[in-house]
């Protein structure tokens, strides 16, 4: 179905996800009082969920 001729959309999508993930992971580190390994892992996971939803939301609104 989709021919991978143009790598730019993929690149842009991953850049957007990465930017959101970085911002949200930073936010998590700001929220917490003490940082340890488990805290970092959980924060990275939650930031990933947030990043995916941020992109999904933006796409859903731009859709029409």
């Amino acid at each position: 179905m989709t021919r991978r001729t143009d790598p730019r959309p993929l690149l842009r999508a991953s850049a957007e996800l990465l930017a959101w993930w970085l911002a949200l992971a930073l936010l998590w580190l700001v929220f917490v009082t003490s940082v340890d390994t488990l805290e970092r892992i959980v924060g990275a996971g939650c930031a990933a969920v947030g990043a995916v939803l941020a992109r999904a939301g933006r796409r859903a609104v731009r859709w029409r």
Binding site: L24, F31, S34, D36, E39, V42, G50, L53, A60, V61
Partner: protein, 249 residues
Amino acid sequence: MNRLRLWLLAVGGTGLAALLVAACLDLPRFGGRSHPYGDRAVHASLRRHIANTIASVNFDQRAYDTLGEMSILFAAVLGCVVLLRQTRDEHRAPPEPAEVARPVRRYALLVLPVALVTGLYVIAHGQLSPGGGFQGGVVAATALHLLYLGADYGALERVRPLGVYETTDALAVSSYVVLGLAGLLAGTAFLANTLLPYGTFNTLSSGGTVPLLNAAVGMEVAGAATVLLAHFLDQAVEIEDATEEEPGK
């Protein structure tokens, strides 16, 4: 009839007020120093390395009650789903897309992930700082509905496959029960917090099963609130019965 009712209310209300005031005057005085149950609860919580005593009471000392509370929430959502289902004489009319000012739309899109991560933070740190599964779950579910407020219902429906949230809701309740049964299998009691090590005080892994139960409640509440709001939104926005006129006509 109406006047009679008001008289009845006045008499009953005055009587109740008198009784309540008498009871208030007899209560231990506000701000008193004697809280025997509270002191013991704090002691028990510290013994299990849980920094937030309220989380300890909810998910350790009274974990069985929290199971009841969860099933109340689950049953209430089930009741709402049944009450608000689409009946045969109703039809769905997709709403027209709304026109929302650009700053509002951008605000909604930017705050959505921030609110979601805040909700997850409140859930994850339930046994440390103020917060917990219930509060964080509601925040996460509310965050999702920013999409309805900032754009339109169609946008929300695209990122909200309802089946996933219904499954999450059910899975979370059953995982709470499974965690309880694990205690039973380990040879102690249902929902007894003796399964996992208590960890270092004031870290994310402290408190044995409390963080896990907290996460289960958080997932359940987030799923339940989303499903609940979805059915109310369906009723208010999409579903019309046969007598209602379509907006386009």
